[in-house]
């Protein structure tokens, strides 16, 4: 079983586009926002759109978890948005676009400290121009833009544990990952 999982390890690829920088201003839009001070959480729901520099994220729902500071009264508060963000969770059809790369999936989490974006779901698609990578889990190191797509578990209906990748040889972008 490990070998198969190893086998379906997925394509390593260099993705310059998908990177969230810590400096650029972020703009979030949604139909509704509920800030729960005591749980240090802010829940955006309904056509959530997040834009930061070249990166755009769309989802049905996004939950922002603020770091619970050790100190009793905490640095900032979720309501004022000045508390530092621990991690984001996005649900309900996630679409991430950054420059030339587009990734879609059912759910996603983004950990601010490690700056790792994980998209998962029955079918996670990462595409750049006409090159497509399909699997069940996409892990992107936002700092370096390095992405890894993992196949679905053996026997799951979505796939046979392998990653599907199709490359159009003379595709425009320079990245052109090779398996």
């Amino acid at each position: 079983q490990d070998k198969a999982a190893q086998d379906g390890k997925g394509a390593q690829g260099r993705l310059q586009g998908l990177s969230l920088s810590g400096k650029d201003p972020i703009q979030i839009e949604s139909d509704k926002l509920e800030v729960r001070e005591s749980d240090s959480v802010a829940i955006f729901s309904g056509n959530v759109t997040v834009v930061q520099g070249p990166t755009l994220l769309k989802a049905g729902k996004m939950t922002v978890y603020y770091a619970k500071d050790g100190k009793e009264n905490g640095g900032g508060s979720a309501a004022t948005g000045s508390a530092n963000i621990d991690r984001l969770e996005v649900d309900d059809k996630v679409y991430v676009k950054s420059n030339t790369q587009v990734a879609t999936g059912d759910r996603g989490t983004f950990d601010m400290k490690s700056e790792v974006l994980v998209l998962s779901g029955k079918e996670v698609v990462l595409s750049e121009g006409s090159n497509v990578l399909v699997g069940c889990k996409l892990t992107v190191q936002m700092k370096s833009g390095e992405a890894q797509v993992d196949g679905c578990k053996k026997g799951s209906d979505a796939g046979n544990g392998r990653v599907m990748m199709s490359i159009t040889p003379n595709s425009t972008s320079g990245a052109g990952q090779k398996k």
Partner: protein, 230 residues
Amino acid sequence: MTVDPAAHSAIATGHDLRAAFERARKHSLRVRFLKGALPLLAALMAVGFVGYSYFVTPASVAVVTDGSAYSDGKLVMANPKLEGFTKDSRPYKMTASRAVQDVKNEGIVQLEGIAAKLPIDKDNWAMVDAPHGTYDREKNTLDITSDMVITTADGMVAKLKSAFLDMASGGMKTNDPIDIETKGARITSDSMTILENGKVLVFENRVRMNIDPTRLKSGEDVSGGQDGVQ
């Protein structure tokens, strides 16, 4: 038969005597009765008065004012001050430059130049400044139908077009656009509800939040808003 007037009078006198005695007896009976009844009646009235005055005093919060004038059916109070405690026994205070109360409906007070101080949590509170509003004494609510500003001790400045404040439960609701600015983040939306003394905020309809991570991390104060609370 002639009757001797003296004898007649004697009989009469005898007759009179008995009548007089009868009257005296009745009088003393009446006196004896009243001697018991009157004090009892007085006691009853006293108890009644105490009870009446206890129940009739309004439960709502007392309003302290500097001076008040009465003109054409309206009671006008100068800088009224009202203090009370929210459900979790934290103090709130509301002052105004003027309060106008219609004598026929004294539950409602029109306030002008409102400054209210509402507790948010242990070391944070909100100052509400509004040109005018309607305060309902029974429900202890304040309905503000004009532009207003809420500033909190931790540097949040909220500009609202209207607001309905429930002082006792520390809740607030507005169906008009809001614009909230804090250190490094700004939220705008078309409606907002605050529950549980500011613990839960719900923004709805066209919510937009801009976060400037650089100012967030360094936590500089909001350039525009006042520093702390005046």
